[in-house]
Amino acid sequence: MSDERIGRVAKGKRPQYFHDPATDKLMAIVLSLVGELAVTRDRLDALERLLESQSTIGRDELDKLTFDSEATEERDRDRSDYIRRVMRVVTMELERPDADGATAAFSEQLNTLLRDAGD
């Protein structure tokens, strides 16, 4: 799915919070987007600060900028990673390390875990 070495999803069933599971996924995506916009705002601020202290960049220059193949690959990879991050929850069921047990009802699996944890 990606070249991630560490993985991003914890082992263990993800609880359901809302009556409709789709709402849980939408919530997770919305929060990811909120985070990404926060990052963009920070980046824009950083850019503004740089411009203020160093020099100016014309909009025309930006509009006409072209990228070599290495830069193009980087940008494509970043964009792809970005989409994966935001859509994480859509594929979470499949990425979970113990996905084989994913069909068990949440309450059933949690009860098993609680019983095992308490011996």
Partner: protein, 374 residues
């Protein structure tokens, strides 16, 4: 990456995401969470009393009622997502710099300038309470190794902690150890321990204050997770603090009987299991010299049905599965059953070292702590 740290250094956008998660969690805690008690007191509890004719007497009943409440649902879903995003925000920079982190660990471990040691045992079984689910949702948990000399789990834990707790453990993440140390000094002022053992040390954040406070003592620290122990060893050596780390299970450490003056743990016991906990307390009794002291500090389990319900959030939503059992356990009685005389084991409340503003109890916060004297 700074020469004096093993913490992965985030690039601009990685840092910005970490900052976002930290601030989002702060918003949830300060703006959203107080509303839960309000919803409970003004809607859920009165409704329960109307229907049953009596107030809630069980946190299980509180839970059944609260999970159907839309305000609680929304907070809970956001809190869960913030925990996942926290790990995402620290895993990415760790992954990017992992080769360099491992090289730094190897270089520090080869020199070990503070004179500490690291002893790993790759034949040690990782207990089921670590492998069944990733505690705190940290991908791979504390123990997963993905290559030789892997330190990723330690680095991820270390980088996530200040985001998780909004910096309240201080710049060195050591204020839990400092709190327990203060408590020990106040209550056992006449004792200067010669040999100290810290159980479940993770990356050694709470170990270091003990080694600094008792420079003449031989300080040992154990954990089952090799990547965290490697990180802990390098961190202590960088700090110039001599600690002997080794990969052992607190249930059965392999140290000689009567070989320690002091055995401590910091928020470890809720991450074990029912049978493990009894074994650990019995092992502490075995390890202590006559007159030696055992201290296990842990997280409060709540004072009333609502407080106990809220303390269980981490159980159902953050993979602290065993903590559910701990809510109802009498730790002092457990110590009496596992060797300690009746008047020689009790529960104490350890106040924060400084400024801890715990999510569930902002006033008069204390860490419940099992004290035992052999």
């Amino acid at each position: 990456m700074s020469a004096q740290t093993l913490i992965p250094e985030p690039q601009h956008d990685e840092r910005a995401l970490q900052d976002f998660v930290r601030d989002f969690r702060r918003y949830l805690k300060q703006d959203v969470m107080p509303g839960i008690r309000q919803v409970y007191e003004t809607r859920v509890a009165p409704s329960h009393e109307r229907e049953t004719g009596k107030p809630f007497d069980s946190y299980h009943d509180v839970r059944r009622a609260m999970v159907a409440n839309d305000y609680y649902q929304f907070w809970s879903a956001m809190q869960r997502r913030s925990q996942e995003m926290m790990w995402e925000s620290v895993v990415a920079p760790t992954e990017r710099q992992l080769d360099e982190l491992i090289r730094r660990y190897e270089s520090i471990a080869a020199r070990s300038p503070a004179g500490g040691t690291l002893e790993l045992d790759d034949s040690l079984p990782i207990p089921r309470y670590h492998t069944a689910h990733d505690i705190h949702l940290q991908p791979g948990g504390y123990h997963t190794e993905r290559g030789e000399h892997d330190v990723a789990a330690g680095a991820i834990y270390e980088a996530g902690l200040p985001i998780y707790i909004d910096g309240e453990l201080g710049p060195d993440n050591d204020r839990i150890g400092m709190a327990l140390l203060e408590h020990y000094k106040e209550n056992f002022a006449d004792r200067a321990p010669q040999r100290i053992l810290d159980m479940g040390c993770t990356v050694g954040n709470s170990t270091l204050p003990w080694a600094v406070a008792f420079p003449e003592a031989e300080v040992h620290a154990i954990d089952v997770a090799a990547p965290c122990l490697r990180y802990a060893h390098a961190k202590a050596e960088l700090a110039g603090v001599r600690v002997h780390y080794s990969q052992r299970n607190a249930e059965c450490t392999g140290y000689d009987a009567g070989s320690f003056d002091l055995v401590v743990s910091h928020i470890m016991i809720h991450e074990t299991s029912k049978s493990a906990l009894g074994n650990i307390v019995a092992e502490c009794f075995r390890l202590l010299k006559p007159g030696g002291v055992m201290l296990h500090l842990d997280v409060p389990r709540g004072k009333d049905p609502f407080g106990r319900f809220m303390s269980q959030w981490e159980v159902y939503n953050n993979n602290e599965v065993f903590a559910s059992y701990l809510t109802d356990v009498d730790l002092a009685a457990l110590a009496h059953k596992n060797g300690f005389a009746k008047e020689q084991a009790w529960m104490d409340g350890v106040p924060p070292y400084t400024g801890i503003n715990h999510a569930y109890n902002t006033h008069g916060f204390k860490w419940p702590t099992l004290v035992g004297v052999r």
